[in-house]
């Protein structure tokens, strides 16, 4: 190959590269990266509130809101209001307001499922409008809300919910969606407050923190959290918090007579942090007494939570799915109409006390 020919070829290649290399850019400091987005329903319109961090100036984050009839034009509406092109690739948390949750999330969920730019985000719901919550995050560090939710899920007894779990529960049969619930407390702080349980794409009812933890015990691998209960046996009285370190759950649906029965075995390893006066775990009798009380408390509360779900016709634990495993003629409608309604629940808890701290417990 002569040099001239070589140069010509290189020139051709370079030219065609530059011709074809005109891809729209999204340079990090020239796009509006949002970390949080809240959806709510207002006057029959879909309303979105978006929080952009201002990394460049290190100032407070900005809140933008827009309204539209469908999620796609909502993106457009938001774009009209922001300086730069608006990008969802760094989205961390999606919040659904109370009204929208009760109205139905299908529109929004179907849209975000189709957007490959969205990563595995956290999805939560809120008491009232998401605006209130997002407004509280503006003067905090940009990832404040995300860290708050992550940490609650990691070790504060909130079930692990993210986009993947949402897919699983939303599309999957035999299980219903549940999302952590956010609220602003009386002092003006953002706080995780229980969970919202959905039926289909609609919010059915909300459960408390403690119930959320029981739900986590029944469905998550990670069972980290604190469970508090009232010890009221003989002379021992008082409210105790035990930290559950790890454990296992095992759910079975068995037929008992002509009724189906959900049998749930929980094995929990706990750590004791403080005990009321008088309880001495060195004594075999006290230990057994304490364990029994705790086991009973968890079992009955879990059972009543399950009954609560049953009464509301929702199934966040996924009993339908477990029922399906060894029955090939399963139909979701049939299960919830006929079987789930009459199902009996039996929760067995086994407690293993792993640690009691390093202090002297007797004192």
């Amino acid at each position: 190959m002569t040099n001239k020919k070589f140069a010509q070829r290189i020139g051709c290649v370079a030219l065609s590269l530059f011709l074809s290399g005109c891809i729209p850019k999204s340079i990090i400091d020239e796009v509006s990266l949002m970390h949080y987005i809240g959806f709510d329903r207002e006057k029959k319109m879909l309303k979105a509130s978006v929080v952009y961090p201002n990394y460049a100036t290190e100032g407070n984050s900005t809140l933008l809101t827009a309204e539209a009839k469908n999620p796609s034009s909502l993106q457009n509406e938001l774009g009209h209001k922001s300086q730069f092109e608006y990008e969802v690739g760094q989205l961390r948390v999606m919040i659904f307001g109370d009204k929208l949750s009760r109205y139905g999330l299908a529109d929004v969920l179907d849209t975000i499922c189709k957007d490959p730019k969205i990563g595995v985000i956290r999805i939560v719901i809120s008491d009232g409008s998401p605006d209130l919550i997002l407004r509280k995050t503006l003067n905090k560090s940009p990832l404040y809300l995300k860290n708050l939710i992550d940490k609650s899920i990691e070790d504060e007894g909130i079930p692990d919910i993210n986009l993947h779990v949402m897919y699983d529960q939303y599309f999957g049969s035999g299980i219903d969606m549940s999302f952590p619930n956010l609220k602003v407390d009386s002092k003006g702080d953002i706080k995780i407050d229980g969970m919202g349980i959905f039926k289909g794409d609609k919010l059915k009812f909300k459960i408390s923190d403690k119930e959320a933890f029981l739900l986590k015990l029944m469905m998550d691998r990670n069972k980290n959290g604190v469970y508090s209960f009232n010890l009221d046996k003989n002379e021992h009285k008082g409210n105790i918090g035990v930290r559950i370190l790890y454990g296992k759950h095992k759910v079975k649906v068995i037929k008992e007579g002509n009724q189906e029965k959900a049998k749930m075995d929980l094995t929990l390893n706990i750590k004791l942090e403080g005990l009321p006066k008088g309880v001495k775990l060195e004594k075999e009798r006290d230990l057994i007494l304490f364990k029994k009380a705790l086991q009973k408390s968890i079992s009955t509360e879990a059972e009543s939570l399950l009954k609560d779900f049953q009464a509301n016709g929702v199934d966040p634990v996924g009993l339908g799915r477990i029922y399906k495993v060894n029955r090939s003629n399963y139909s979701e409608q049939n299960f919830y109409k006929m079987i789930y309604r009459n199902m009996k629940f039996d929760v067995n808890t086994k407690i293993i006390v792993r640690q009691t701290g390093v202090g002297n417990i007797e004192s």
Binding site: G21, P116, V120, D168, F171, G172, R321, V325, N326
Partner: protein, 370 residues
């Protein structure tokens, strides 16, 4: 009609493993899940094994088809059907090879357009890929087998990513197991067979593999290659079945990439972008080896120099790729290719073997008579 390939163009038998495996893995592995669950649902992994075994048998047939005298498809065609008819059949095979290459290329462009650059035009990517692939194929078979080797070894570290979805798997998604009828399993098997296509190019590059005194060596490595493909697909299938339930798989067209989304490093988020780019190394083999096989067939039948035919073939491929605009038309293309491919590999090649054996007998009888 024996082809003699000079020794410095040949690669050692060990590379058959990588050639077979790398030509089988293409874009299909990124989105096969919602196709294969259509019949056997959670039992589709059984169908995978069925398809794998059938592919093994086809490989056996291919090695029966190729012998010392007729060591590539063109030669076998000439032997069985004579010059003219043989050439026509070879050209038909070439068209299928070209179609296979086009399918993988267009599907990869589609992945890039959907996942990474939504606004990039097809022609932009076509120019870039066209230039790159021209350079690669022009470098010859040895270089391509180098890519098939590194296209397997380098991306194999992606296997470690299994760790991330493993944490979110649920075994009950695979239950109830063995609950599907044979016919349902076969529907899935058919869907899986598209994933296994590509190994048949060995009928063209067979003479380029250095033969040791014991010629069993090549077939041994080829079987291992196919086995490795089965294992890889089995792992991906099982992991994605354990990670997503069946209903989700029906809804999500790109299950493997959705699964990669969960991968998260402290220094890197959204690993699927890196994954898609690294995947280029994987799709090079199916795109380039098939095109190379096309130029080879043209050279063997019409004695047109490969460089000229390569330019024409690549240009045709780019034009075809650009003209497929609607997302549906890509589905149609994939369907067409899988039908043609299944016809070629699972029906035509066994048939060809039968014809060859009959011809063998015929000649033997005639010799005996004389």
């Amino acid at each position: 009609m024996k082809v003699n390939v000079e020794k410095h163009f040949q690669v050692s038998a060990f590379f058959t493993f990588f050639l077979i495996h790398s030509s089988q893995t293409g874009v299909g592995i990124l989105n096969f899940q919602n196709q294969v669950i259509k019949g056997a649902e959670q039992d589709a992994w059984i169908s995978l094994i069925i398809t794998g075994v059938i592919t093994h048998i086809i490989l056996y047939i291919i090695f029966k088809l190729l012998d010392e005298e007729n060591n590539d498809l063109v030669a076998v065609h000439h032997y069985c059907f004579g010059k003219t008819m043989g050439n026509i059949l070879s050209v038909l095979a070439m068209i299928y090879f070209w179609l296979a290459s086009l399918t993988v290329l267009r599907a990869y462009i589609e992945v890039i357009q959907i996942w990474v650059y939504p606004t990039i035009k097809t022609w932009q990517l076509c120019i870039v890929f066209g230039l790159t692939f021209y350079y690669l194929i022009k470098s010859g078979f040895r270089t391509l087998s180098g890519f098939s080797f590194w296209g397997v070894v380098l991306p194999s570290f992606l296997f470690f990513l299994i760790y991330f979805p493993m944490k979110h798997t649920n075994y009950i998604y695979l239950l109830p197991a063995f609950s599907h009828s044979l016919s349902e399993l076969f529907i899935s098997s058919k869907a899986f067979s598209l994933l296994f296509l590509g190994f048949e190019w060995i009928v063209i590059y067979y003479p380029f593999i250095r033969r040791n005194p014991n010629s069993k060596n090549i077939s041994k490595w080829a079987y291992f290659g196919n086995l490795y493909t089965i294992i890889v697909y089995l792992i991906v299938t099982l992991i994605s079945f354990l990670y997503f339930n069946q209903e989700v798989l029906q809804q999500l067209p790109w299950a493997t990439l959705m699964m990669v989304k969960i991968v998260h490093f402290s220094f890197l988020e959204r690993f699927e972008y890196a994954f898609i780019f690294i995947w280029l190394l994987v799709v090079i083999s199916p795109i380039c080896i098939s095109l190379w096989a096309c130029t080879r067939i043209i050279k063997r039948t019409f004695s047109i120099p490969p460089k000229a035919s390569l330019k024409m073939l690549l240009l045709a491929e780019m034009i075809a790729a650009i003209s497929l605009q609607e997302f549906k038309s890509i589905d149609h293309l994939i369907n067409l290719t899988s039908k043609v491919g299944i016809g070629f590999v699972y029906l035509y090649l066994p048939l060809l073997l039968i014809i060859k054996l009959i011809k063998n007998n015929f000649i033997k009888n005639r010799l005996n008579k004389i």
